[in-house]
């Protein structure tokens, strides 16, 4: 191989970039006989620069950038009946509205019936134990249980949307029962 040919090959190598080349698909060159030898005494080597179809694989991330997004926050404003608790608590693994919260529920029912345009979101929550998606479904059951209590008191179902936050919005931090019992709850949120 003369120097012009080598230069030609190098030019090819540097300009091509579209497709990959497998080194073992190019002709085998005995390094001892090759003018592009780097001094290796090995034989049976394939040689990258000896391939006339040589090109290197241009590597780039398929999605080289991930475009960051900032979502908007939302304000925690809630109207509703004055001086009435806006949360009821549940026992472990339970969806039963306990009798001690009946007065709270009746006060909300009264408010919703006398304010037909009021819209209530009942937000169910769980403690941190268990899977996140399954807890989301469990929290939904708690919100639905409170809705059922309100319906029995004559509240129009169209005024209520039940949603769940699962274990995602704990009221108390910690991994002991004192925190868990505060987190197993349904909250009343009135949309203004």
């Amino acid at each position: 191989m003369n120097k012009t040919f080598i230069s030609f090959l190098l030019a090819l190598l540097l300009t091509a970039c579209a497709s990959g080349v497998k080194l073992n698909e190019v002709p085998v060159v005995d390094k001892k006989a090759s003018s592009v030898s780097n001094g290796s005494s090995g034989s049976g080597m394939s040689d990258i620069s000896a391939s006339s179809s040589s090109s290197s694989q241009q590597v780039q991330q398929p999605t080289s950038t991930v475009e960051p997004v900032n979502s908007l926050g939302n304000e925690n404003t809630s109207a509703g009946p004055a001086n009435v608790d806006k949360v009821v608590y549940f026992d472990y693994d339970s969806f039963t509205v306990k009798p001690e919260f009946q007065a709270t529920i009746e006060a909300h029912a009264q408010f919703l019936k006398s304010n037909a345009r009021a819209k209530l979101s009942l937000e169910g929550h769980t403690d941190e134990r268990g899977g996140r998606e399954y807890n989301l479904a469990l929290g939904q059951k708690r919100a639905d249980a409170v809705r059922q209590s309100l319906s029995l008191l004559g509240v129009n179902a169209a005024q209520i949307e039940t949603v769940s936050f699962g274990e995602e919005k704990p009221a108390a931090q910690g991994s002991e029962e004192s925190a868990f019992s505060k987190n197993r709850r349904a909250e009343f949120f009135y949309n203004k």
């Binding site: 475009e67 997004v69 059951k141």
Partner: protein
Amino acid sequence: MTRFAFALTALWGLLFGVVNVAHAEFKVEISGVGITQIPIGISEFKGGDLAPQRITQIIAADLDRSGQFKTSKPGMVIDENTRPDFVAVKSKNIDGLLTGSVTRLADGRFDIRYRLWDTVRNQDLGGQSFVAFTPDLRLVAHRIADQVYEKMTGDKGIFSTRITYITKHANRHMLWVSDADGENAQAALTSPEPIISPSWSPNGNELAYVSFEARKPVVYVHDVSTGKRRVLANFRGSNSAPAWSPDGKTLAVTLTKEGGSQIFIIDAKGGEARRITQSSGIDTEPVFTPDGSAIYFVSDRGGSPQIYRIPSSGGPVQRVTFTGNYNISPTLSADGKWLAYISRNGASFKLQLMDLATDKVTTLTETNHDEKPSFAPNGKLILYATQVQGKETLMTTTLDGKINAKLSGQTSTIREPHWGPFLKP
């Protein structure tokens, strides 16, 4: 290359210890020793110091994490054009030897070349050249690891695939996309409200997830390269648990719009939702079988959460799990042969693997807070969230549970991982 399957060192199978593979840039903590590990030498690449990333360290960490390899440093610099001294290599007790070089090009790019040698038969197993700018050097290393893995095991490598996960720091919830080793993380979404259940589309371009930013769970689909996102499901009540069909045209989601948590199918472009399950209790966490014909899901219809299976057009339901009283978060391997899920036993939540041909179940982990498993696209590893010494972490395990690796990269709380598909090179 089945000959490598026999190339295990019996000694390693007898030992069961903890191996810490420490590297200068990052640390891969790997515990356990597999019984069929291929011993491979990773020589220093000629000119390897030129690149800002230690290519050979990334390759070695990838191969170690797979559980299929036992990497070592033969202590020599060998480029891809040099035939190794096989007599000297014999003493290293390795079945393969990776050689290569790094060259800096005039335009600032790097040319990384490798060649793999079968040091049992003294054969050239081929190599390749990659040209890349600095930000893509990690990907080059992962691509080389993929090719080494495939040449020596016969299975496709997964090191150049990507994962997604969620972190929470104070009140910042972030959705991330990173390399399969947890490195090179890029933020896709930052929100003051929680994000859960990110799920890769089959083409690897989009993520579906649940965000609470609208003060209720709403399912979004998010194009990660443009940052454009759309609301997929925002029906009355809760919207959650998105799972893509294998063709990417539809998603299964859990909706409460008709009362209770039930599974619906919705077009990937949005629109009306078609109900699939019919129960008075909880049906959630759907996942399609690889052929799209059925959906595995969690239901409490029998009194406790168990995994069931239903045709994806609806129809008769078949119970899948029978052991224990809390089995959730099903996920399937791409060949449809394995079901991984989480089982509660007392206060422990542990990753389980069921062989769907025999229904045989094995527990894969020593940890007690396992969550959200997903398979690598080649089905050889499972990614999951757990807690180690009270700290949230992401880990991978081999299907025999013998090799567990902790992914690094994030220091805050980290959870909700999902392993993405193979990407086109």
